[in-house]
């Protein structure tokens, strides 16, 4: 096995300097207050810890540690570097999806909570989009080591089944129970704490009303039911790709269903129909993204890291980029439709 040789001390020193300069730059920007309007502490907390949680859902501690070591300039065989590159690519994907998911969650909390007037509600709704911006920035940061590591090696396609969890050579299948339990528990805690931080300043509505806002029955039924049906239709051979496709396709269908219903509502000047459609769009976005990031993506990561597949499916990769982007535009559209004045007529 060929190993890529470099001067390890020099490489680590250069990597450290790069990270130091980047950290100093970010610190200077934050301290300058130039983008104080773009501050969303709850969103930042959610994104950073949410990314850590999702990483644990799909990767073992050993794999995460190796990915960090290689990103810091540690040498290794091409297989290890390729896996490390895949970890960083997956981290970028998670950051992007989590960013849009955070916007949807923030948006739901703002709409569902008791607002302090139009001005406050509007500013909070616009603030929710800042989380997507954070996600995008974090995705770019994670893509840097991914591209660097991928460029360092020209690894041939894995023809034979490689080791299960060890980053090189044959090895036993590493049990992922600890990582998975940690990942899902941490993710649930992060979601709960984020909602708590977002609702902290608002008049008390209690946790039960907020749960009734987030748990939108029809959207859950359509997204979960559709995803399972599509996954079953594609069969066991498709593996985790079936779930990615299932959640993304069902989410898309739900978004367009909601949009068409909203347009009919505007045509009939029926405020109730429009509102029901908007609620459906937001909730469907939320649950489809949640399914993608917490169920489908970690399973697909496991397939790649365990060597069952060479790489994620091209359709999965496309949906990981396109679906959150579409969701972002639909949330923007929803914001516009919410603030567009409408006289109550017909049903309203």
């Amino acid at each position: 096995m060929t190993e890529i040789h470099r001067d390890p001390a020099r490489g680590r020193g250069r990597a450290f300097m790069r990270w130091l300069v980047a950290a100093a730059f970010i610190f200077a920007v934050v301290v300058s207050g130039l983008f104080s309007g773009l501050t969303n502490k709850a969103g930042l907390f959610y994104l950073v810890f949410g990314s850590v949680a999702v990483a644990f859902m799909g990767f073992s501690r050993r794999e995460i540690g190796a990915a960090f070591r290689h990103a810091a300039g540690s040498a290794g065989p091409p297989e290890d570097l390729k896996r490390a590159a895949y970890f960083w690519e997956a981290a970028a994907r998670n950051a992007w999806i989590l960013g849009v998911l955070g916007s949807a969650l923030n948006f739901t909390v703002v709409l569902g909570g008791d607002s302090g007037g139009i001005a406050d509600a509007s500013s909070r709704m616009i603030q929710s989009f800042v989380v997507t911006l954070y996600g995008l920035v974090l995705a770019v940061v994670c893509l840097v080591p991914a591209m660097k590591l991928a460029g360092q090696t020209e690894m041939p396609r894995l023809q034979e089944k490689p080791s299960a969890a060890g980053l090189s050579g044959p090895g036993p299948v590493v049990p992922m129970i600890f990582e998975r339990v940690t990942g899902y528990t941490l993710f649930a805690a992060v979601l709960g704490l984020t909602v708590f931080f977002l609702t902290k300043g608002q008049p008390p509505g209690g946790p039960i009303p907020l749960a009734t806002v987030i748990l939108h029955g029809p959207a859950i039924l359509v997204v979960v039911g559709g995803a399972i049906a599509l996954a079953l239709f594609m069969g066991a051979g498709a593996g985790a790709r079936a779930l990615t496709l299932g959640f993304a396709m069902t989410g898309l269908v739900a978004l367009f269903m909601g949009l068409i219903q909203a347009m009919f509502g505007f045509a009939h000047t029926n405020i109730q129909e429009v509102s029901a459609a908007l609620a459906f769009i937001i909730a469907a976005c939320f649950f489809a993204l949640l399914g993608l990031v917490a169920v489908a993506a970690p399973l697909e990561d496991r397939e790649v890291m365990a060597g069952r597949r060479d790489r994620p499916g091209p359709l999965s990769r496309m949906f990981w980029v396109v679906f959150p982007l579409l969701t972002f535009f639909f949330l923007l559209l929803t914001l516009i439709m919410v603030i567009t004045p409408m006289k109550q007529a017909g049903g309203g």
Binding site: A42, I118, L221, I228, L232, Q261, A279
Partner: protein, 130 residues
């Protein structure tokens, strides 16, 4: 250990005793491998219980998923009440009343406060810009 496995063990021992000198090493190794695979398959076949088999039956999941999909579509189509939709109605009415009560020519500067307390200044002055 089950009675079936005890019987297999006894048969194995008997075969080993009878054929101890006759089998070459590679044939013995091959046989051992086949016997182990056969045992593993038999043990695996015994494992799933009826409930587990029912749970993993594709038809059950297929029916359940289609039922969920149809129920979701119907609930949405029939306009079931939802708190989020109620809040959106409330917000839209607030926006509509704000627009209708705003005197013509007034371009309000809305000063909002973000969740963390940082100021956000937004100007809603379409008229002035145009």
């Amino acid at each position: 250990m089950t009675a079936k496995r005890q019987e297999s063990q006894g048969l194995d021992d008997l075969l080993r005793k009878v054929l101890a000198d006759d089998l070459p090493a590679d044939v013995a190794a091959g046989m051992r491998g086949r016997i182990d695979r056969f045992r593993a398959d038999t043990i695996r076949d015994d494992k799933p219980t009826a409930a587990r088999a029912w749970f993993f039956r594709r038809a059950v999941w297929a029916a359940l998923s289609v039922l969920m999909l149809v129920a979701g579509g119907l609930l949405q189509g029939l306009g079931s009440r939802n708190r989020l939709a109620d809040r959106i109605i409330q917000m839209k009415v607030e926006f509509a009343s704000f627009e209708s009560t705003r005197p013509p020519g007034v371009t309000p500067e809305v000063r909002g406060v973000s969740p963390d307390g940082s100021p956000i200044i937004r100007r809603k002055n379409h008229d002035r810009d145009s």
